[in-house]
C-alpha cells in the first residue's frame, strides 16, 4: 500500500518537470493543481487504507466469533499457525557445562606422566579415557550438541556431537532407531552408548555426580560406546521385562581397534522393573560383555625406573548387575524424592602380555596374563525440597592379584609392573545441587579418592577433590531415560 502511494506521488511530481518551459504563473498554477491532486489522492488512499484495516479487523472479529461460537475441532485446528518448512527441522538441544576443581594430588594422567602421584586407578590396566579429574582451576566441560528427528514413520535418528574445550568435535552418538517395529522390538544402528548397566546408556549430564563411578572409569574408560547394532525386546507383560543384545566393532576400551574378527564386541542384557504401590518403582538388570582385545597398550615404570610400553592381547569377559529404586511421596517427585542405585562389575581377562614392546629398557618379553577384577558403587540421592538435592556415593574396586607369567617364571619381578600390583581403591563422594529450573543445575561435590597407590612406599595416596559445576541445557525439551 505504502509503495503504491510513493509511486503515485512520484508520478505526480514528475509532471512539473514536463511543464518546465511554461510561464511562472502557469507553473505556480500547475504546481498548486498538482498539490491539490496529490492531496486528493493521498486522502483517497488513506480512506482506502482505513477501510481495508476496518475490513481486516471485522474479518478478524468474525473469525474470532466463529471460533468462539463453533465447537468444531477442525476450526480450532485451523486457527493454529500454519506449518512451515522450518517445522521439519530437527530438534536441537545443547548441553553446556563448566567446572572449577581443586585437588590435593596431581591430576595429570599416569599414562603421560607415570609417577605414583599422577592420576591412576592402581591395580588396573589404564583405560586411557579422560578419567582423570579436570586440571585444577576453572575448566570447560565438553559441550554437547544433539540433533534428533523422526526420519520417516519407520525411523528416528539422532546425532550427538561433543565439542571438546580444547577444540575439535567428536561424534559421541550417531544412530538410527526403529519406530516401525512391533511386538516390542526396537533396532538401533550406528554409534551409540551401549545398553549395558544402569548409567551407561544415560548421557553424562544426567548423572547425579560430576564424574563417573570408579568402576566406569576402570572398566569402560567412563562410558562404553561402540559402532554397531542393538536389538531390544520388551515382553508383553505388565511387569517390565526387557532383553537386548549388541554386536559392535570396538575401538575403545575394553576393546581395541586391532581385533581379528569383524565383530569385536558383543553384549547381552536383561532387565526387569515395575512399581511398588504408587510411591515406589524399581529396576534391576544383568549384563554381559565379551571382547577379544589385541595389543591393548599402556605405560608403566619398571624396576630400572624406565618408562616401558606394555601390551595385552586376549579375552576380556565382563558381567554387570545393576539395581535402582526410586521413591517419591505419592509418586510426586516435584516435592521430595529418594533414589538408591548400585552396580557391581566383574571382569575376567586372560591372554598374553608383552613387556617393554618398544624395547626401551631390558628388552621385549612375552608371558601369560590372567586377572579377576571386580568393583562397583552404591549411591543415594535425596531431594529434600523442590530443586535441592544431596547425594552420597561409595566406590570400591578390587584389583585381585593379577597373575603375570613373566613374574611367575622369574624372568622379571613384581617391581617391573608397579601399576599392576594389588590394590583396593575406594572413594567417598558427597554432593549437593540446586536447580534453578529443569534446565539448569549447580553442583558442589567433594570426594576423597584413594585410587592411587605408591608402590615404592606401599601405601594409598588419598586425593581430596572439590568440584563446583554447572550444567545447563538449551533448546528442545529433552525427555530423559529412567
Amino acid at each position: 500500500m505504502r509503495l503504491t502511494r510513493t509511486a503515485v506521488s512520484a508520478a505526480l511530481l514528475a509532471v512539473p518537470a514536463i511543464a518546465a518551459a511554461a510561464e511562472n504563473d502557469d507553473l505556480r498554477a500547475l504546481r498548486e493543481e498538482v498539490a491539490r491532486m496529490r492531496e486528493g489522492y493521498e486522502k483517497r488512499i488513506d480512506a482506502l487504507e482505513k477501510r481495508l484495516a476496518q475490513a481486516e479487523t471485522q474479518a478478524g472479529k468474525a473469525e474470532a466469533k466463529a471460533a468462539e461460537a463453533s465447537v468444531q475441532a477442525r476450526e480450532a485446528a485451523a486457527a493454529r499457525p500454519p506449518a512451515t518448512a522450518n517445522s521439519f527441522n530437527p530438534e536441537i538441544a545443547l548441553i553446556l557445562n563448566g567446572t572449577y576443581t581443586k585437588q590435593s594430588q596431581d591430576p595429570a594422567s599416569y599414562n603421560e606422566t607415570p609417577n605414583p602421584r599422577s592420576y591412576h586407578i592402581h591395580g588396573f590396566v589404564p583405560s586411557l579415557g579422560e578419567t582423570a579429574p579436570p586440571r585444577k582451576g576453572f575448566g570447560l566441560g565438553e559441550s554437547e550438541l544433539t540433533l534428533s528427528a523422526n526420519v520417516d514413520p519407520h525411523w528416528r535418528a539422532q546425532l550427538t556431537a561433543a565439542l571438546a574445550p580444547e577444540g575439535g568435535a567428536e561424534v559421541e552418538e550417531a544412530f538410527i532407531q526403529s519406530l516401525g517395529f512391533d511386538n516390542g522390538f526396537t533396532l538401533k544402528a550406528g554409534r551409540f552408548l551401549s545398553g549395558v548397566g544402569y548409567l551407561n546408556p544415560r548421557h553424562a549430564h544426567t548423572w547425579d555426580f560430576a564424574d563417573a563411578p570408579l568402576a566406569y572409569k576402570a572398566f569402560f574408560a567412563n562410558q562404553l560406546r561402540s559402532d554397531g547394532v542393538q536389538l531390544k525386546w520388551v515382553a508383553p507383560t505388565d511387569l517390565f521385562v526387557e532383553l537386548g543384545g549388541e554386536a559392535a566393532s570396538g575401538g575403545a576400551f575394553p576393546s581395541t581397534d586391532k581385533n581379528r574378527s569383524g565383530t569385536t564386541l558383543g553384549t547381552l542384557f536383561a532387565r526387569v522393573g515395575g512399581d511398588i504401590g504408587i510411591s515406589q518403582n524399581w529396576r534391576a538388570g544383568l549384563s554381559a560383555l565379551a571382547t577379544d582385545p589385541r595389543d591393548r597398550t599402556w605405560n608403566d615404570v619398571d624396576s630400572t625406573d624406565t618408562t616401558v610400553e606394555n601390551r595385552f592381547s586376549g579375552k576380556s569377559r565382563m558381567s554387570i548387575a545393576d539395581f535402582v529404586w526410586k521413591w517419591a511421596p505419592a509418586g510426586n517427585a516435584k516435592e521430595r524424592s529418594l533414589t538408591v542405585q548400585g552396580e557391581v562389575f566383574r571382569r575376567h581377562e586372560t591372554g598374553s602380555m608383552t613387556y617393554d614392546a618398544a624395547a626401551a629398557s631390558v628388552g621385549t618379553q612375552t608371558g601369560d596374563y590372567a586377572s579377576n577384577q571386580s568393583g562397583g558403587y552404591a549411591q543415594t540421592v535425596y531431594q529434600f525440597q523442590p530443586r535441592w538435592r544431596v547425594g552420597y556415593r561409595y566406590d570400591r574396586l578390587d584389583s585381585g592379584t593379577t597373575r603375570l607369567g613373566l613374574v611367575d617364571s622369574g624372568a622379571l619381578t613384581a617391581a617391573d609392573f608397579p601399576l599392576l600390583s594389588a590394590h583396593r581403591p575406594t572413594r567417598h563422594t558427597v554432593m549437593m545441587d540446586y536447580a534453578t529450573s529443569e534446565f539448569a543445575r549447580f553442583r558442589v561435590q567433594f570426594a576423597r579418592d584413594k585410587s592411587r597407590f605408591d608402590f615404592g612406599q606401599g601405601r594409598a595416596l588419598p586425593d581430596n577433590q572439590l568440584w563446583l559445576q554447572y550444567v545447563v541445557s538449551l533448546g528442545a525439551h529433552g525427555a530423559h531415560k529412567y
Binding site: 471460533a67 468462539e68 465447537v71 475441532a73 480450532a76 485446528a77 486457527a79 493454529r80 523422526n150 514413520p153 519407520h154 528416528r156 532407531q177 519406530l179 516401525g180 517395529f181 512391533d182 511386538n183 516390542g184 522390538f185 526396537t186 531390544k232 525386546w233 520388551v234 515382553a235 508383553p236 507383560t237 505388565d238 511387569l239 517390565f240 521385562v241 526387557e242 532387565r271 526387569v272 522393573g273 515395575g274 512399581d275 504408587i278 518403582n281 524399581w282 529396576r283 526410586k326 505419592a330 509418586g331 510426586n332 517427585a333 516435584k334 516435592e335 523442590p386 529450573s437 529443569e438 534446565f439 538449551l474 525439551h477 525427555a479 530423559h480 531415560k481 529412567y482
Partner: protein, 297 residues
Amino acid sequence: MRILIANLFALLSLPAAAGLKVFATVPEWAALAREIGGADVQVYAATHALQDPHRIEAKPSLIARARSADLAIATGAELEAGWLPVVLRESGNSRIQVGAPGHFEAARQVRMLEIPARVDRAEGDVHAAGNPHIQTDPRNILLVGEALAERMASLDPAGAAAYRSAWARFAADWRARIAAWEKAAAPLKGVPVVVQHKSFPYLFDWLGMKEAATLEPKPGIEASAAHLARVVAQTAAAKPRLVLRAAYDAPRASEGYGRQTGVPVVVLPFTVGGSEQAQDLAGLYDDTLAKLLQALK
C-alpha cells in the same frame, strides 16, 4: 532350545484380547476412554491426580504398558514432553507412535488458550502450543470425546457401533450436565481469583471467572516469600475472593497467601481422582463447582 524358540514365537503371535488396550497419560482421558469403551476396553492411566503431570518419569512400568497398547491418549501441547517420547521410543510398538492412528492428542481437538506470543525459557515452563490443562472446561470433554470415539471406532471396527452409541448417550447426558453446571455456577461469573499455577484458564473461560494473579512468578517456578508478599500487595485492589490450587500442588504458596490475606484457599481436584468425590468425569465437575461455591459463601 528349539522348544524355547517355538514357545517364544507362539507367545508373540498370540491374538490380541478382544477390545482395545488403551494407554492414557492422565486420568481424565482414561476416564473418558472408559465412558466410551465400557467393559470392552482395558484402560491404563499412566499417572494419577496427586502427581504433577509436568514431572513424570519414563519408568519401567510405563514402557511395559505402552508396549501392548493399541491406543495411546495424550494431552499433547508438550504436557508429556519430559517422558512420553522415551516411553514411546522404548516400547517397540509402532501402533502408538506419533503420527500413527493409535496416537491420539486431546489438545488438537480444542481451542487452545494462552498461546504464548514469545516462546522463551526465560518465561519459565511455557508451552508453545498453549496451556495444556484443557480438561478443566467440560465443553472440551465433548470435543475430545467426539474425536476419541471416532478414533476408537476406526481402530476397533468390531466395537465401533458400541463405542458410537455409548458416546451418543454420554454426550447427551453431558450436555444436560453442562447446562445444569452453568446454571449452578452463575454466582461465580466475574469473580476474581488468585491461582497458584496457571492450571485453570479453561475453567475460568467457561465460567467467566477472572484470574487476578498467579502466585508462581513464572510457570513451573515456585513463589518465594518475597514474591508472595509482592503478589499480596498487588492483588489488594483486585479483591480476589478465592485462591486456588490443584490437588497435586504443594500447599505452601497458596496457604501462605491465604494466611496473609484471609482469602479462602480452595483445593480443586483438577482431574479424576483428585478428591474423594471426583471419581469419574461428572464427579470431577460436580466437586469442582461444589468446592468453589462453598468457599464463596
